[in-house]
Structures are given as C-alpha cells and as structure tokens.
Symmetry: C2
Subunit: 276 residues, 2 copies
C-alpha cells in the first residue's frame, strides 16, 4: 500500500487553510538562503507554492555566498525581529565557511518552524516542544493516517543526519519504539534491515535498499533524496524490488517530501496559535 504524500499533504494543507482563515492576522513564512543552490531553490519554490495555496505570505531573503557568519547573523536577527515574519527558516545547506549551528541558533524558538536552533532542539529533546522537526512530523503523520503503531516495534533508521535520522530516532525512542540507528560505519546493514518491522532511510544514496534486504510486510519510509542528473530526484529505496515485499511504502517523489512542506506550515500555524 502506497503511503501517498501528495494526497495526505493536500489534506493537511486543506485543514491548515481553514485554520489560517480563522487566525485574524496575516501569517508570513520568511526563508533565508545563502548562495546559489538549484536544488535548494526548487525546495523553496515548493514551500512558496504551498504558502500561497493556504493563504500564508511568503518572503525570500537571499544573501551572497561571500557573506560572513557575523553579517549573516546580523541580517537574520533583523529578519526575526520583524513582526510580519511569523515563521523564519534558514534554508540548508549553508556555505562551508559559515558556522551553521551558530546561524541556526539565531532563530528564536517561537519562530523556529524547522526546530533547528539549540533552544528548540533542547525543548524537543525534553519532550516539551509544541512542534517537532517537519520531516519527523511528516513521517509521524503517515503512521497516524494509516494507523501504524510504533510502540514496541522494531524500527531501523538508516543514517543519523540532523534532518532525519537523529531527530527521528529520538522521537521514536520517546514513543516507546525499539530503535536501531545505522550509519556508514555499520559493517552489514542488511543484518539489521532484514529484521526491521519498519525501515526509515534518510541517507541520500539512490538504490541503497533493495528487496533482498527487507522482510515481507515491512513498512518502508524513504526520506533520502539525491539528485541523479537532469534535476531528477531519487530516494534511498529501490522502489520496484522493495515495494513487492512492503506492506506500506512511500514513493520518491511524492512521499516524505510534500509531507515535510505541509508539516513545516503546520508548525508555523501551531507556533502562532499556541505560543502567542
């Protein structure tokens, strides 16, 4: 069965549209970007489109590659201070000369829709945050919609990155799942993936997971994303072979991606309604 991110995200965006209408004041998502990144730019376009679809304003702040950490931080401070910007997001990746976490910390928790500042992550870690990182939230929405229980399940996560693996592992541990996190140093990942009841991959290596590496009935979520030339995006999972065995599986594109965008905007609305 397909975990259809396009369909589910549209449903969520539809609900958000109603909520946005109910909120008397205009909402605005501000996105900060540094340098040139065609892929990042296409993500931003998707976020912009979803904003427009549900009546959230969108503002794009773009800075040149040469900007220093100090200059960028100053600029983001100004962006965050603006009352009009109800949610602020720093688009990743940042150039390597920029102190990434220091920059992400510039966004105050009440506007940090991506949950990437230390303060927001501290709240997330202690289970005291009103929102959770968008990709994690998007994946959890799949499980909610399709009534897939995580407590007590053997869940294998491939990759321990800041956007998928690490926050997802923490969240699933908090929910009582048995969680295994694999990485590039794991000698034989199929030893773990074969026993997984649920498998979530967030590496960015097309074709990493093939049908022979999973068990019949496994739930597969593909949060990996890599460009394979010509602007075409692929996930970590070899869909054709794995989908033959999986009970549930996300496609790429049309799986986790649109869910992340929807939950990002859901976070913006939640921060607006819960914290102010």
């Amino acid at each position: 069965m397909l975990l259809d991110g396009r369909k589910l995200s549209q449903k969520i965006l539809g609900e958000l549209k109603e909520k946005v209408k109910e909120i008397a004041k205009p909402l605005r998502l501000a996105i900060v970007m540094v340098g040139e990144h065609p892929t990042a730019l296409s993500f931003i376009k998707q976020k912009k489109k979803s904003c427009e679809d549900i009546g959230i304003e969108f503002k794009f702040y773009k800075y040149p590659d040469e900007i220093t950490t100090a200059q960028l931080r100053k600029n983001i401070h100004v962006v965050c201070k603006l009352k009009k910007n109800t949610g602020v997001l720093v688009q990743l990746p940042l150039p390597s000369h920029i102190n990434k976490q220091y920059i992400l910390n510039t966004v105050p928790p009440e506007k940090d829709v991506d949950v990437l500042s230390e303060k927001s992550l501290g709240r997330f870690y202690t289970v005291r945050s009103s929102i959770i990182p968008p990709t994690v939230a998007g994946i959890m929405k799949f499980f909610e919609e399709y009534e897939i229980e995580v407590k007590g399940k053997n869940i294998v996560i491939i990759g321990a990155g800041t956007l998928v693996g690490k926050p997802l592992a923490l969240h699933l541990v908090n929910l009582g799942a048995t969680v295994t996190v694999l990485n590039e140093h794991t000698p034989d990942i199929s030893r773990y993936t074969k026993n997984a009841e649920m498998l979530i991959s967030g590496v960015g290596k097309p074709g990493l997971i093939t049908g022979d590496m999973v068990s019949e009935g496994v739930v597969v979520v593909d949060a990996g994303l890599a460009e394979v030339g010509g602007g075409k995006m692929r996930g970590d999972v070899d869909f054709d072979s794995v989908s033959k065995k999986a009970s549930f599986i996300t496609p790429v594109p049309g799986g986790v991606g649109p869910m992340t965008v929807a939950m990002l905007l859901s976070n913006l609305v939640t921060l607006e309604t819960h914290q102010k």
Copy 2:
C-alpha cells in the same frame, strides 16, 4: 576484565585535584535537594566526599517536600546567582508535584554540571557543549582508558531514561556506533542482547541481564541501580553469569557510580576553565 570504576575514578579525581589547585579561585558545588530520600542522600554524601578530596567546596541546599515549583524555582535562581556556587546540581528525584524539567531549566548552562537543562541539552544534542552528561562521560572514560572503540560497533542500550539511555544513545550515534535502544515495550530483549558487541544497561531492575542473554566477548556496562533492601544496591546485570562471557564488565557497586561522581566534578572544572 573488570572495568574498575573505583580505581579509574580515583585516578581522574587525582588529576582534577591538581587542576583545582592551579585554578586561583575557590570552586564550589551546590546541590539542591527537595524532601527526604535516603538513597539520594547517600549519593549526595559521595559527591560531598569527592569534593572534599580534591579541594572543591560543597554547599547543600535542602527544601521541604511541600515546596511549590514556583518557590523552588525562586530559590534555585538565588543559588545560581551566587558567584561562590560555580556548579549547581538539582538532585533527582524531585517530588511528583514539581515540574521537573522547568526546575532543571533554572540552572544556567555555565553552571549546569549535570547537563539537564534544555539549553545544555540543546548544546549537547548539536555537539557544541564543552561537557556531556556525567554518566555518559563516565562510561566513555572507561572506553577511553581500556581502549575500547565504539565507532562501527553494535551497541545495545537497555532503557531510554533521561540520565543514561537517552543521552548515551545520542552520544554514541554521534560517535558513529550502530546503536539500538530497547525499552519495556521491546518484545524479546535477548534477541538484541545476544548480537550486541557492547551492552549498556540503565534500567534499575536487578538480574535483568543473565549470562544466557549475551555473547562471548561482549563488553558490558551496568549503569542500572536499584535498592534491594538494607541499603544494598544492585545493578541490572547478573554479574556471576555474565562476567563468565564478557571481555569487559563493570561491577555494581564500584563501576559506573564512582565514575559519574568523578565526571560531575570534571564537568565543574571544565565549565570553570573553558567558559569563563
């Protein structure tokens, strides 16, 4: 081979004593406790003794069980504001009517030797903290001293608590280990423990891990602690049967416990020397 926490902690405390002498100003550990807890009190005594051994002052603040969260927070604010208190620790457990995390958040990161406030945990999560939670640090010291590599290892953690399992899992994931976190909802823990190259338990259930549940050569760290009557403390691991198969194993008492105390004071010295 025994991972001897008494011996290693004495070595660390000896090194700290020299560092404390080099620091021109007096250092002081302040411990805040609420209500009556004989076990907690015995832990505090151990911390006090280690402070005295290495020339760190010790101050004990004790409040009655009936104190409210608001009153306690006010008091801890005062304790933290005092320049003399270079490190501040809220002894757990707190009475159930107290908002635990809200209280732990009162301690500012520069004095938070236990790394339990949201701010400190946010820094720890993003790998930007100069210190790590004392129990995690103590366990890592064992691995360092006995040259046990964690990267690429299959490490199984039993229990996802705030003091051991959760921060340890995060830290080991950051170090490139393959980490599995088990909990009370895991159907059959021996399925995981049998494959573990390293096994770390932090549950508080005496005899939870027996020899038939582990493989030959496993490294076993017992961070569980439960009172079994008469003030006697026991770990999660059945030492007699497990030690026959383990390549390395911590005893209880005399394993993780004294290491935690030593690393707590090490954190105090680090915060003093690195952040001020």
